[in-house]
Symmetry: C2
Subunit: 198 residues, 2 copies
């Protein structure tokens, strides 16, 4: 499975690095990818990363972190929401057949992409109303929402539970248990599964 | 407070980035630092980071991540343990007055530095016996061990609880609660406090 985690200036470090470590550790080919070729990306708390790749036409799984939504930071998720270039790229990958998953307020980029309308979803607690305003069927009680080809989760650390859910979905419960144990992470929270897993 | 998180080739991404995000978000001046000047560091799962700084003579807090101990990877914690250059630098900073904290098997670099002998400590479950062999008073029941000027914690995600404990210690419980809430993280596990917090 080819996984790409889309990073952009102002993304939240943990939103991306949590799923990156888990999905990579599970054996998936996992890359931190940018939309356009660029030498470095500076995350919301100041970590500087060198991307591995640019976004493929159709990764099997595209993970979209959030960062900076709550503070309406012009560099980060809110800025990318306003610009619309990343949302359009997400819509293209989804239309091409990629499974798309967001962490935290990355959900707002999926909403802007138009792929959450009428669909069950969640996001960081500070953005639930914004997500509702896009017509998503918001499930604040869930830590992870799995709607088949579109997955979302709550704030920051729920990305760990999203990633372990994806490991379980693709490799089975033993692999997810081993991943959680290696990280000394106790999975928690509800996983709302809207439809049979593909 | 000046915080430096020591990164080196093969460090575990989450060991470092979890505390980085929390300590930086709490308002501490927090840097990802290398021992010698270097352009890039490649972490154990392949993330590539550009360090912010080199290790200061006496940061207020030095955080040491693990990575690759279990597999005896020559690039990573085990390699640095064998080489001994990083352990010597840790010993120097501790002697100069820095508080030193490890995440996961970063504890083995503190052990090699000679600063855990006879002192309460913990590490990733796969390295508890190795830590015991260094004469540390191992507390496997604890997720975080606070021995004043030396702190240790369990595997990978326990770094989140270590960092929130440090926020609580320096800024108080409300700040730690706010940090956990922002990350949608539920603090868990025992904090073994060996002595009155300085």
């Amino acid at each position: 499975m080819h996984v790409q985690i889309l990073i952009y200036d102002g993304f939240d470090e943990l939103d991306a690095i949590g799923p990156y470590e888990i999905l990579s550790g599970a054996g998936f080919r996992t890359e931190l990818a940018t939309l356009a070729p660029v030498g470095r990306i500076t995350a919301s708390h100041g970590a500087v990363l060198v991307p591995h790749a640019t976004l493929a036409e159709r990764p099997d799984l595209l993970v979209v972190p959030g960062g900076g939504w709550r503070t309406r930071n012009p560099v980060g998720t809110h800025g990318e929401y306003e610009r619309g270039v990343i949302p359009a790229a997400i819509a293209q990958r989804h239309a091409a057949g990629s499974t798309v998953a967001s962490v935290c307020t990355g959900a707002m980029l999926l909403a802007k992409a138009g792929i959450l309308e009428g669909r069950p979803a969640t996001t960081h607690h500070a953005a639930l109303d914004d997500l509702r305003a896009h017509g998503a069927d918001v499930h604040p009680e869930a830590r992870v929402v799995d709607d088949g080809d579109v997955l979302t989760c709550g704030g920051v650390t729920s990305g760990l539970d999203l990633a372990l859910h994806l490991v379980e979905r693709h490799l089975g419960p033993d692999a997810a248990r081993a991943g959680a144990r290696l990280l000394e992470h106790e999975r928690r929270g509800e996983v709302f599964e809207a439809r049979a897993v593909r």
